[in-house]
């Protein structure tokens, strides 16, 4: 119960802090709009309409969630290091994963703003017909996808704890994940060897679930896969966090890496 309280409170605190940051707030909303605008224009140029345009809108809207998480999550622990608070977090009696997870969840939540904004932008600027067939499953799928991306960000943050310039890794991962998770491009169009990688990414199943709900298909199987993968990321990330921090403490390199 204490851990749930810590995660809830820290998520809310981080969310309030990030909402006041021009970088996380303004950029989180505006930056994905640039990409989604290009995407809408490309699909309209290709005479897409109806379900195809809705599918593109849904994909473009989730792009922003990953954008908000990838760069900032990989730089999250470096930011704590720069502020001089990383050692305090590590030394605190609360396990480090319980402290890091709400940070990346808050980043994904900021991304949820852009999910909504992109759909609204598509509706009013490009006339996308947002005819969602199963609204309850749609909201549920969107929520689970945001959470799963937050947990993927947690894994990324933990994995990059030893690197000062890890933000560059997050930036480099932004578009590859957009591509191989099938946000806009059907997986069938990608080379066959990429598909197993796609299946290991929770956003692949998340976007599949959101699309299924929008088109009136059953979203629950894809949603279950998304949740399952998020749980795996959480467990792997937690084990990794303990191991990497132990190594850093043993070698006294936490602040120096």
């Amino acid at each position: 119960m204490t851990y749930v309280r810590v995660i809830g409170l820290a998520w809310w605190l981080q969310l309030k802090m990030r909402s006041r940051s021009a970088f996380d707030g303004l950029l989180g909303v505006l930056y994905p709009l640039f990409f989604s605008t290009v995407v809408f224009m490309m699909f309209r140029h290709g005479d897409a309409s109806g379900a195809a345009l809705l599918s593109a809108a849904v994909g473009a809207s989730v792009m922003g969630v990953w954008s908000s998480t990838s760069t900032t999550a990989s730089a999250a622990l470096q930011q704590e290091r720069r502020q001089g608070t990383l050692e305090l977090l590590v030394a605190a009696p609360t396990p480090l994963p319980v402290v890091i997870l709400p940070i990346t969840l808050s980043m994904a939540t900021i991304g949820a703003y852009s999910l909504v904004v992109t759909l609204v932008w598509g509706r009013f600027a490009f006339g996308v017909d947002l005819a969602i067939q199963r609204p309850v499953q749609f909201v549920l799928a969107a929520t689970v996808t945001v959470v799963s991306i937050g947990v993927l960000g947690f894994l990324l943050a933990v994995s990059s704890v030893r690197y000062r310039t890890a933000w560059a890794l997050g930036t480099a991962l932004e578009m590859p994940v957009w591509l191989i998770s099938g946000f806009l491009v059907p997986l069938d169009l990608l080379p066959a060897w990429i598909r197993p990688i796609s299946w290991l990414l929770a956003p692949t199943w998340g976007i599949d679930a959101i699309r299924a709900a929008a088109e009136g298909r059953d979203a629950l199987p894809a949603l279950a896969a998304c949740l399952g993968l998020a749980a795996v990321y959480g467990v792997v990330g937690s084990l990794l966090a303990v191991r990497l921090v132990d190594a850093a403490r043993r070698h006294a390199t936490l602040a120096l890496t």
Partner: protein, 261 residues
Amino acid sequence: MSALRLFFLGGLTSYRALFSWLSPWILIPTFIVGPIAQILFFAYVGRAAGVGDDGYYVIGNAVQNAAIPCIFAMSITVGDERRQGTLGLLLVSPARRIPLFLGRALPVVVNGLAVALVALLAGSLLLDVPIRASSLLALTGVVAVSAFACTGLGLANAALSLRVREVAVLSNLVVGVLLVFAGVNVPLSELPDWMAVVAGWLPLTHGIAAAREVAAGAGLASVRDDVLAEAGLGVLYVVIGLALLVWFERESRRKATLDVA
């Protein structure tokens, strides 16, 4: 002589220190993986949307990727001086401003050119888009002019960072505007009229158009107008950037706002 020394040595030192060249691995994800991923992403989106051919996206996105170092590195050369507490020292120095700031632009132009060419080469190999060997030299020239024009815009953006703390936000927005307006992935003819007019005043628009023609086999002479327009815009933005730097520096001294902007 001291102006030349400031231009070359000062520029190189600033570039290496402020743009984290001191940690070279940062170049790989930022300047190689990211640009290639952008090309692949838009080429596949183009396939999914049923528009354009791969060559269209390879050229457009490769040239646009020159903007990443040109915009970000230039803004960092001013913005990170403040973050590191050295902006006041820099501006209190008697160094002449034109060689000081233009010297910082030179490595950035070279960086932008290199990023675009690597992306072009990798994109053409990965997507099997042939580029004529006879076009390479002209293409390099066009991309170099585009990188210069982007650096001009980057200098103007850098000047704004004398007044705005969130320089990374500004730079991302500028790059985003270029992506949407400059005909990178969507032909100008498909843009609303007002966007096409704005595009004509942005760096990259003319450069990308020229690069596409050159890659298709046209000679430099036939894209002369676009190349001259791109170079002219570069000069215009450099002048605007230097003027803004002088103005903002004077204002920040007068109001004592250099470190609180």
